[in-house]
Symmetry: C2
């Protein structure tokens, strides 16, 4: 008898978020599911890991079903490390993270806890995908996304994911009839124009809230931003070799020995 | 009269760490220096940003000199954002981060608060360099590194840094006489083999400490790990377009419409 694929599920919005509940639903159709996810929201955590404090891990029972679920006091990257080393009895065939409440397209990949979990799995040699829906609401509708999550995860289980690469999948916030399909894209060149909201405490001390406006600087039609704006689901292959290989020859002209 | 270059200095070990003090010393020789750095250590913070709580920023006076210094309650990436938006009256000509107490070579770039500050500056279009010394000790000797920091920063000010790229510089923990020079490298393929140290609280509850062993999986002689092991200072150009462009054609063979 062939074993069903083992699928590790995590996220950065916390183990009770509707987005991860939707993802667990889909994964139960594809394999044996183990969930290890943060006990509280971790958005904007980037690829943080916990090295200066201890981690708690607790078996929890949230939804019905055969999945095993663990709540962890750490970051998304911590969850993946703990799952692989302390919980799972074999290597997972796939790690999925999300479905994030909010976009992780273009430069957001850098700040994303959702994607950091996927990257952590990828670094450990586990095929991995991060899923995000362009809707920040707690009660976002994940039904349309679920159908495509299944398609993409099935492809990953059947074909594998290219070595040293994880997938960053974003869903436009559209009803199913307006979704044009799935598009493999590159990461758009974009950034955040921050604005700080400066306030004063009742004691007269200044403090700041980070706010900002997302700016797409990239006119390309092969980017994730273009795809999402035009009704497509974007799939960006993301690598963790950050070397800008094309600039090595330029840097070799620098005068290091003067 | 030409203005002296404006140099933003930050780090992830905290504003009082000896490593940033060494970096400030060198930068004062090259330009006008403004320091905005975390008020406490932030190692392992990856590219975290603070979106769910407020940020404090305070003018501080630590060492003598003309530099302006600010201590910030946020992450390294927060420090760069606050500096650019709330403190500096013009765009900095260079942002330097470090000198980190400990390595940020190869895959460590992903977990590194030091490099996240440099990346944040790079995303905002500011030439940026992260510096790290392969010595975790608080009282590490930064004297040898300082000479090379100056050489590399001078090159960056004179030549600029290639667009959409920041530099990740690591120093071997060697006396000056044993340093063979500076080498432009690619990021080695490496990872951490985690081991969790599982313990029990006096109340009988399990908890975990993350520990691990760094494993270089890359036999290449053009990597940062090779350079550092062989007495060179490594300089890796790092990009924040994470797209694995070479895999897009493979992913386009996937069956998305079954």
């Amino acid at each position: 008898m062939t074993k069903r694929p083992l699928i590790l599920v995590t996220n950065d919005d916390g183990i009770t978020a509707p987005g991860i509940r939707a993802l667990i639903d889909v994964m139960k159709e594809l394999g044996e599911v183990v969930v290890v996810a943060p006990d509280s929201p971790q958005s904007g955590m980037g690829h943080a890991i916990t090295i200066d404090s201890m981690l708690h891990l607790e078996r929890v029972y949230i939804d019905d079903g055969e999945q095993e679920e663990y709540s962890c006091s750490g970051t998304p990257a911590d969850c993946v490390k703990l799952a692989v080393k302390e919980i799972l009895d074999r290597r997972p065939d796939l790690c999925v993270s999300g479905i994030n409440h909010g976009s992780n397209s273009s430069i957001n990949v850098i700040y994303s806890g959702t994607m950091s979990a996927a990257l952590e799995a990828g670094i450990e040699g586990i095929p991995a995908i991060g899923f995000s829906l362009l809707d920040y609401n707690y009660n976002a509708n994940f039904e349309t996304a679920k159908k495509y999550v299944k398609t993409i995860a099935k492809n990953a289980l059947e074909n594998g994911i290219p070595d040293q690469v994880v997938l960053n999948v974003n869903f436009p916030n559209l009803p199913e009839k307006d979704i044009k399909g799935i598009k493999v894209c590159r990461q758009a060149k974009a950034n955040w124009e921050e604005e700080f909201d400066k306030r004063q405490s009742p004691q007269g001390k200044d403090y700041y809230w980070l706010t900002g406006k997302f700016v797409n600087l990239d006119p390309g039609e092969d980017t994730d931003e273009w795809a999402l704006e035009n009704g497509y689901i974007s799939v960006v292959p993301v690598q963790f070799d950050l070397t800008a290989h094309h600039t090595i020859s330029t840097l070799n002209t620098w005068k290091f020995n003067d």
